[in-house]
């Protein structure tokens, strides 16, 4: 390693711990003061410190796992715009341009320069999902937008705050073009306050240790992260591993959309090539290179080691290649409203390829549908409301253990569903049930987690926008295990007639009073031959009504004990 070692290992450890505590504090403050459920509950946010080359010094750990060392590109876009000498203390820059972020417009990065006197030290940055960024539909969330202009405002490195003073014209301009300006600017204030925490505490750190020592220390931290990751890659068998899968459709056309993955492990390097994936699509499930790269990084990190910090060094052994022109390397003005639709399946597919190198470290597929559903309408007080959540479903089985239930996807982390009691208290919705679906799992010696089903009846004016996945490429089983079920919605009229038998995507589906919708999630794939499942586990599943006797007999080869009534 080229860096001269100036910092002893203890001080280095203390520096790293301090850096992580800064970004965690930024994120904690943001979560506690956010206005939008998607920020404080879904944790659709992320906080980071970057150096003057837009490299990640530290990134917080509590946000969505997908936000993995991916704050560099938006900050770089700001540097490109203003130049390193174009910042002054107190500035705050907004970036959501898909060419920089690779994500949908709602994900707005706010960043501010950190100064020591007149010297620029780096940047403090916070990304948050704004509830609305304008465009054709409430929440800027549709399944049918066809270009970026219909999705909302593009903020391409806009200085909203100049030298500590908010620019009233820019603020008025944004306010006039988005639907929930009060909540959104509430979230922005939370972002701003979090940036200020980063500025202040990073400044304190520099004053305590000195700039040079911190810079050297950060290099050493990166080198350490890199060495740890390389060691894990070296432990993985060399080889070329391929897998592919299909998203159901792009929201406009009905053709399935291919994801192609080739993983090459060579000593301490891992190359992931997404060549062969489908071209840019006319619907809005496109995403940019930085988003598809982040998805690959999630798979990489889940495979090699989940509990180390994320920084510039941790991904040095990983090279991701996404050729231009694919739907995973889209550019403006392609629509990217549903940019993350591909993420759970892309992670699953990279892991499937990697399972060729090591079966033990990869379960069968999970339900794998991001599954956002958004209720809009009018609440009991006559006010407009928006309520966002995502489906939970089953995860895949793996040797020695059944898959979990009631979980979001691999791109989610500590993300909570909204309780039924709060939904009933705040929105014109009655929850009929939220339950597991017996027999729904992918079967196997170690079965997948069961699907779950949530049923709502509208008690007023409500519309539902939803985007479900995995009908084409169902959650696969492994080693003789069967595949899981896919995600679907059905709708039943007030007098009991079936209005929609099954549908995966819809925008502003009307659900007037008395109409019921049932969201059924997918389940996890099974692992190993179901006939090898230990008898006591089959009987436990029967006792708990996770499976029916018919499935126990037909799939698991279970024979009732003599004299038994079942």
């Amino acid at each position: 390693m080229a860096t001269k070692t100036r910092m002893d290992p203890i001080t280095l450890q203390i520096l790293q711990s301090n850096l992580i505590s800064i970004v965690d504090e930024m994120e904690a403050n943001m979560t506690r003061t956010a206005y939008s459920p998607i920020v404080y509950e879904v944790k659709d946010l992320c906080a980071a410190l970057l150096d003057t080359e837009a490299r990640i010094v530290a990134q917080a750990r509590g946000g969505l796992p997908i936000f993995l060392a991916d704050m560099g590109a938006p900050v770089q876009a700001g540097i490109d715009q203003f130049g390193l000498d174009g910042f002054a203390p107190g500035d705050v820059v907004l970036v959501n341009a898909p060419n920089a972020t690779g994500q949908h417009l709602n994900n707005v990065v706010a960043f501010s320069p950190i100064f020591d006197g007149v010297d620029l030290l780096g940047f403090s940055a916070v990304r948050a999902h704004w509830s609305d960024i304008g465009g054709a539909v409430p929440g800027s969330f549709s399944t049918i937008s066809a270009d970026v202009y219909s999705e909302g405002l593009v903020l391409n490195a806009i200085k909203l705050v100049v030298g500590g003073v908010e620019d009233p014209q820019i603020k008025r301009f944004i306010e006039s073009n988005i639907r929930y300006p009060v909540a959104t600017f509430g979230d922005f204030r939370a972002q701003l306050a979090a940036c200020r925490i980063g500025e202040r505490r990073y400044g304190e750190l520099i004053r305590r240790y000195g700039r040079e020592l911190v810079a050297d220390g950060v290099q050493q931290i990166w080198d350490r992260s890199e060495a740890a990751a390389r060691k894990r890659v070296t432990e993985t068998a060399d080889g070329v591993y391929e897998a592919h899968s299909f998203l159901d459709d792009d929201g406009i056309n009905t053709d399935p959309v291919r994801i192609q993955v080739k993983v090459t492990v060579e000593g301490d390097r891992m190359m992931v090539d997404l060549s062969g994936s489908a071209p840019e699509v006319s619907g809005n499930i496109n995403c940019g290179v930085s988003a598809s790269t982040a998805a690959v990084r999630v798979a990489f990190k889940s495979f090699v080691s989940g509990d180390t910090p994320s920084d510039e060094g941790s991904f040095r052994p990983l090279e991701v290649h996404v050729p231009p022109g694919t739907f995973l390397s889209a550019r403006e003005p392609s629509a990217m409203g549903q940019w993350s639709a591909c993420v759970p399946l892309l992670i699953d597919t990279v892991l499937l390829a990697l399972s060729g190198a090591d079966q033990e470290r990869v379960p069968a597929a999970h339900h794998g549908s991001l599954g956002p559903y958004i209720w809009t309408g009018v609440n009991r007080l006559g006010e407009e409301f928006v309520h966002v959540d995502t489906c939970v479903g089953g995860w895949g089985g793996s040797p020695g253990r059944d898959g979990g239930v009631g979980l979001k996807t691999y791109m989610h982390g500590d993300t909570h569903t909204v309780p039924s009691e709060i939904e009933e208290a705040m929105f014109p919705l009655h929850v009929n049930h939220h339950r597991l679906v017996p027999d729904s799992c992918g079967h196997g010696q170690w079965r997948g987690g069961l699907a779950s089903e949530k049923s709502y009846t509208s008690t007023g004016i409500a519309n539902l926008t939803f985007a479900l996945e995995r009908k084409h490429t169902r959650p696969w089983g492994r080693g003789g295990g069967t595949e899981g079920t896919y995600n679907r919605l059905s709708q039943i009229g007030a007098d009991g007639e079936m209005l929609i038998e099954e549908q995966q995507k819809g925008t502003l589906l009307a659900c007037p009073e008395g109409v019921t919708v049932v969201l059924m999630s997918g389940s996890g794939g099974g692992s190993g031959d179901p006939k090898l499942r230990p008898r006591e586990l089959v009987e436990e599943d029967l006792l708990n009504e996770n499976i029916t006797p018919a499935v126990a007999r037909d799939v698991y080869g279970w024979v009732p004990a003599e004299g038994s009534s079942s």
């Binding site: 003061t33 206005y35 793996s398």
Partner: protein, 680 residues
């Protein structure tokens, strides 16, 4: 002569007892915990220091037995009776994965398996209106199944019962009649009136799970005390920082989970008030963990959702628990090299067997205690009053072990590194309760206790910029002393969204206050004298999720006054406010307390029996200064008003206080040590 009172704090290894005897003198005892009947050791231990138990008017008791039953999954066979369509709520949880990147993640296994969860079709809506009534025949049918399954406990928890308890109460009463006394029946709404069905159901289930064993434990404990001659009130320490009657404890054993750690925090608050500090950081360090809590204006903060076994373990409880941050750093914490090649300390602990290497019981990995010994901060011949002789050579060997060689540090620098990393981990825990809540730790005094607290308090205070540290007398027994001081207390909470946008709000607040007073009526009726009453609102800007706690004046509620108080507190915590935006109240909590009416003297009186010893000196390693010659004094020999300059080591029976080189120690009137760091 005054009424005598005692506190008995039972842990896994030791039972700590303090007692104010009829002459008003404080006596203390530490005995081994007796298993399986902890009451025997407790009654004997109390009799040793207070011969006539009939003179004892009150015994306050805290125990780790209940939380251990949960952590070790040794509770009863428990069933759940819930709303049709919702029996899987406790299995589905909230959909979250606390360990990002764990692709094998599963929610923790529910305490009630699916086949013991039964559904009833009764249903209320979110306003408390009945949609479908209780079908009595269906309840009888469920009761039949419960009998057939042979369950010991039943939790009844229905959707929307936070609004109206009628369905839960009715079904619980029917089940009690149908199942008889041998089955423990509990409901979610008698434990919590807050919304969120997963958390409230989880609370009911865990209360059921520990119900039968707690009833048995408390009965046995009371019998042992009675058998030894005790005829007074037995009160139990709750996680909210107060005590309640044994009768209440039998109904609500779940309130007893964190009684030990919380008692120490109550003690820290009490001690702070004695010395004129109303803002205190309580720091408690023992063999396996360190705990931190914030005390503001003489009161410990309360959190309303608590996770038993830690957040990742995932069993939430909607009960008031003193807000404690706990981390796996204690005297026995093991130093190791992490994935990145860095030095890490804890949470793995050497425990009591084999214990730290220096215990000479076969431990080979270096622990915090080994580092303390090598650096001269502990005396090999004076550990636990000389009961154990520590093996310095074993500590040195552990710290010179090959497993740490990649760091390239000699044993002393490694030992110092272990102390620094442990200190940093504790400082970060303290930052979570201060800085992340908008409080500046430098404005606080630290009260440090627990066997290892005084050893590390100086370095920790320095890291946080705290200049004043108070070490109570008898830091190893401090939790029991805190328990003895605890008031009688119950908390009652109601969830209801109240948007502060019209004059009618005043009426709504009064209405909720009235409901809370009805909830409290039964408890208040049991109290002697006038209780202290306080209301706290959990409030936020309209549209936010997370709330902050703000004092509420229910008799003279005024939107402008409340909003100003909310915004003031909000800005203090988060650094900004959103003037002009609507504020809403989500929950209102009523806290009813009666202070303990027995005068509890300072624990310092217990030093009289100890030998003062002579002052000596030895080399002690300090992180910044290196090796210094520190004076070594016995705490029992320090008189009130005495001062002492650091560097120094102050030794007593179960603890050692490390005094930094730039620190002045003053012995306060109650025998507490005040350590003041001279700031340059």
């Amino acid at each position: 002569m005054q009424r005598s009172a005692a506190a008995i704090d039972i842990g896994g290894t030791f039972t700590d007892i303090v007692c104010v005897n009829p002459d008003g003198v404080l006596v203390a005892n530490k005995v081994l915990t007796t298993l399986p009947n902890q009451g025997i050791g407790a009654a004997n231990g109390l009799s040793e220091i207070q011969k006539d138990l009939s003179a004892v008017g009150t015994v306050k008791h805290g125990t780790t037995a209940i939380i251990n039953a949960v952590l070790e999954r040794k509770g009863s066979v428990t069933a759940l009776v819930t709303t049709a369509g919702f029996r899987d709520v406790i299995e589905l949880g909230r959909g979250n994965r606390p360990r990002a990147y764990d692709i094998f993640y599963k929610h923790p296994t529910p305490f009630v398996p699916r086949h013991l969860r039964f559904e009833l079709d009764a249903r209320l809506d979110a306003l408390g209106q009945e949609i479908r009534p209780i079908d009595e025949a269906a309840v009888s049918e469920v009761a039949g199944k419960l009998k057939a399954k042979g369950v010991d406990a039943v939790a009844v928890s229905f959707i929307n019962s936070y609004v109206d308890v009628v369905h839960e109460a009715t079904v619980a009463r029917m089940l009690e009649q149908l199942l008889g006394d041998d089955v423990f029946v509990t409901t979610g709404s008698e434990l919590s009136r807050e919304w969120r069905e997963f958390e409230r159901t989880s609370t009911a289930v865990l209360n059921g799970y520990v119900g039968p064993m707690s009833k048995q434990y408390l009965g046995r404990f009371a019998r042992e005390l009675t058998g030894a001659g005790f005829g007074g009130n037995l009160e139990l320490m709750q996680s909210n920082g107060g005590v309640f009657s044994v009768g209440d404890a039998v109904r609500q054993p779940i309130m007893l989970l964190e009684s030990g750690p919380v008692a120490g925090i109550i003690g820290a608050a009490e001690l702070g008030i004695v010395h004129g500090h109303r803002d205190i950081l309580a720091f408690d360090m023992g063999g396996t963990t360190a705990k931190a809590a914030l005390i503001t204006d003489g009161q410990a903060d309360i959190q309303s959702t608590y996770f038993v076994g830690g957040y990742e373990a995932g069993y939430p409880l909607l009960i008031p628990v003193v807000d404690v941050v706990e981390i796996g750093t204690g005297g026995g914490s093991i130093a190791w090299i992490d994935d990145l090649g860095g030095l890490a300390v804890g949470p793995h602990s050497a425990g009591s067997t084999p214990g730290p290497a220096c215990y000479g019981q076969g431990g080979t990995e270096a622990t915090v205690t080994d580092a303390n010994l090598l650096l001269g901060r502990l005396d090999a011949n004076n550990f636990l009053g000389g009961q154990i002789t520590l093996d310095s050579e074993a500590a040195r060997q552990a710290l010179s072990s090959e497993s740490y060689s990649s760091l390239g540090l000699d044993d002393v620098r490694l030992a110092d590194g272990v102390i620094q990393i442990a200190t940093l981990a504790m400082a970060n825990a303290m930052r979570r309760v201060t800085v992340e809540r908008g409080r500046d730790p430098r404005e606080f005094a630290m009260v440090a206790y627990g066997g290892a607290g005084p050893l590390h308090a100086t370095a920790l205070a320095e890291e946080l910029g705290i200049t004043r540290v108070i070490i109570p007398p008898m830091p190893g027994h401090f939790s029991a002393w805190g328990m003895l001081n605890a008031p009688t207390r119950r908390d009652f909470t109601r969830s209801r969204l109240v948007i502060l946008n019209s004059p009618s709000v005043k009426g709504i607040v009064a209405e909720i206050a009235e409901l809370l007073w009805q909830d409290a009526a039964e408890f208040v009726a049991t109290l002697d004298g006038e209780p202290g009453v306080e209301h706290v609102a959990e409030a936020r800007y309209q549209g936010q999720e997370h709330t902050i706690r703000v004092k509420l004046d229910v008799d003279d509620f005024d939107i402008a006054t409340f909003t100003e108080r909310f915004e003031h507190d909000y800005e203090k915590q988060f650094g900004h406010r959103s003037e002009g935006e609507l504020v809403e109240i989500v929950h209102i909590r009523l806290v009813v307390t009666v202070p303990f009416d027995v005068e509890v003297p300072s624990p310092s009186s217990t030093y009289e029996s100890e030998d003062a010893g002579e002052t000596s000196s030895r080399p002690v390693y300090y992180s910044r200064a290196g090796w210094l010659d520190a004076s070594v004094v016995a705490r029992a020999g320090l008189e009130v008003g005495a001062t002492l300059d650091g560097p120094a080591i102050i030794e007593e029976h179960a603890s050692t206080t490390v005094v930094g080189p730039d620190t002045l120690v003053t012995v306060l009137h109650d025998g507490s040590l005040l350590l003041e760091r001279k700031v340059d």
